[in-house]
């Protein structure tokens, strides 16, 4: 018997997880559709039937990050309850199979469902908004590299990885605790980044965004320095590495889970 991974066991576990949780997931989709409808239709209504591509993109990105991180934070919630954790941990499937089912739902399935829900709601809202206006609304293309909204996907990947390890690490209040630690880290990073930039330049810099840019004033001139293409590649590779490490850490945390 393969104790690491077996397709038959994995599919059976995926089906079991779906059967036991589909009611909660369907209700969550209902809430998501409700929130999207409320926000998109409110903006369209208050703008006399108009909603710009930029507004749609911003809503897409923000709701995706917010709902996705909450959903991911809840994915291992049952392991925080002793009586729910025992049947999960003693079910004859491997750690990898249990891990992959949670990962697939919180990363792949969530994004597919979210994109589907967003476009369904956006289409209906735009259709309704276009009635009676001459300059018709355009639908946002979140996959286009011409617009900046595709950034939602890599951003979500990093935040999902952070929430995923938080979901398995904490026993309760997963989202709150993960978000608290995340903001604490951002605060530390910002302070440390400023100190580091001051040390590198030898004087006080005007502003500095970690891994992105720095603004300095020299001889009465303000200079804004942003990272170049090589810097972009380094940051992107670092984010991929961070995601990978967080996902790997989550796997080992699941292996070590005790009741």
């Amino acid at each position: 018997m393969n104790d690491i991974f077996n397709w038959k066991r994995f599919i059976a576990l995926f089906k079991k997880h779906s059967a036991e949780n589909y009611k909660t997931y369907l209700m969550s989709i209902g809430v998501l559709i409700g929130v999207l409808t409320l926000i998109l239709s409110f903006i369209t209504y208050t703008s006399d039937g108009h909603i710009g591509v930029f507004q749609q993109g911003i809503i897409f990105l923000n709701i995706m990050i917010f709902s996705g991180t909450i959903f991911t934070s809840m994915i291992f919630a049952d392991l925080g309850s002793r009586k729910k954790a025992i049947p999960i941990l003693t079910l004859p499937v491997s750690h990898l199979e249990k891990y992959l089912v949670a990962w697939l739902y919180s990363f792949v399935v969530f994004q597919l469902v979210y994109v589907g829900c967003f476009y369904a709601v956006d289409y209906i809202v735009l259709y309704a908004g276009n009635v009676g206006i001459s300059d018709k609304n355009n639908m946002v293309n979140i996959f286009s590299t011409d617009d900046p909204f595709w950034i939602a996907f890599p951003q979500f990947a990093v935040l999902q990885a952070i929430c995923f390890i938080g979901a398995i690490y904490f026993e309760r209040l997963h989202f709150i605790k993960t978000a608290f630690l995340f903001f604490l880290f951002i605060l530390f990073l910002s302070v440390f980044n400023t100190m580091l930039l001051n040390w590198i330049f030898g004087f006080k810099v005007d502003k500095g965004i970690p891994f992105s840019s720095v603004g300095i004033t020299e001889a009465g001139h303000f200079w804004f320095i942003r990272r170049d293409h090589l810097g972009d590649a380094v940051v992107f590779a670092s984010l991929v590495l961070v995601c990978g490490l967080l996902w790997l850490g989550s796997y080992f945390r699941l292996k070590e889970k005790q009741v």
């Binding site: 077996n6 729910k84 005790q258």
Partner: protein, 276 residues
């Protein structure tokens, strides 16, 4: 079947619940695990099931390290915790989604047990009462036909007829290929059920003996019927005094597990010495 070697466990290293514990359990037996509240009974069972990891020593089940929780290990084990959780599914759906993880699962036997326990198979599992859920889980656990069945306080929440049914069902479920461990603080629920007694006290297993061996070595009787020179422990009750004395006849007598347990936890080392 189960081999525990020098196992130490605690929820923090400063307060150990189990210390250098050694234990060997074999197939073909129903073990009754007794211990005071907080003695570590559930913790020991969780170590055996791979749900808690020792910080020293190891626990092997069927030659596999429990803490690794490999599918091949978990297929041979079913753990029924004190508090059960049932998903929001019908019995049919739960069986359809879960039974195939256990290769020897017997559906006919499962539904027969549900009938014997009088559990409504049409009702959503999450809507069953606590006692009904427990009986459902006991039936499922028995039907998995795993070589190791662990039950932590299984009779909690069961009514009196269900407790009688439970004893009957468990007795009939034992085979040469199966080991059943039942942990409880309700000693009387184990009467006429277990064949081997385990007592966990002071972080270690102090008694691990078949009841017939205990019955051959010790005599449990009222004070009047005991040999006054050989009484090891006496306990007053409403109608007189119960005693444990040395069984000089070496004929098996019924073991009063509650009295023996009280004697052990009250620090009667003479009894432990006599049982060694």
């Amino acid at each position: 079947m189960i081999e525990i070697i020098d196992l130490s466990f605690g929820y923090s290293k400063k307060s150990t619940l189990l210390k250098k514990l050694n234990l060997k359990l074999e197939k073909g037996h129903i073990y009754g695990l007794l211990g005071k509240n907080g003695a570590g009974k559930s913790t020991l069972l969780k170590n055996i099931a791979g749900l808690a990891f020792p910080f020293e020593g190891k626990c092997m089940v069927n030659g596999k390290i429990a803490a690794r929780r490999q599918p091949s290990f978990l297929q041979g084990l079913f753990f029924i915790p004190e508090e059960v959780h049932m998903p929001s599914l019908s019995t049919e759906s739960f069986v359809a989604r879960t039974a195939h993880f256990y290769p020897a699962f017997d559906r006919t036997y499962f539904y027969k047990l549900l009938s014997e326990f009088d559990v409504d198979r049409e009702e959503n599992l999450s809507k069953l009462s606590f006692g009904q859920q427990k009986k459902m889980m006991i039936s499922f656990g028995l039907a998995t036909n795993t070589s190791l069945l662990i039950m932590d306080e299984p009779t909690n929440g069961l009514d009196i007829p269900s407790k009688v049914q439970f004893r009957k069902v468990i007795s009939s479920a034992l085979s040469d290929e199966r080991c059943i461990i039942i942990s409880t603080h309700q000693v009387r629920d184990l009467d006429s059920l277990i064949d081997t007694l385990l007592v966990l006290h002071n972080k270690e297993i102090v008694v691990n003996l078949p009841l017939d061996v205990i019955g051959e070595r010790l005599l449990f009787s009222s004070a009047g019927r005991a040999n006054p020179d050989r009484i090891l422990y006496a306990e007053d009750n409403m109608i007189g005094t119960n005693t444990i004395s040395i069984n000089t006849d070496e004929q098996y007598g019924k073991v009063d597990m509650e009295l023996l347990f009280n004697a052990v936890v009250n620090g009667e080392n003479l009894i432990l010495q006599h049982l060694k």
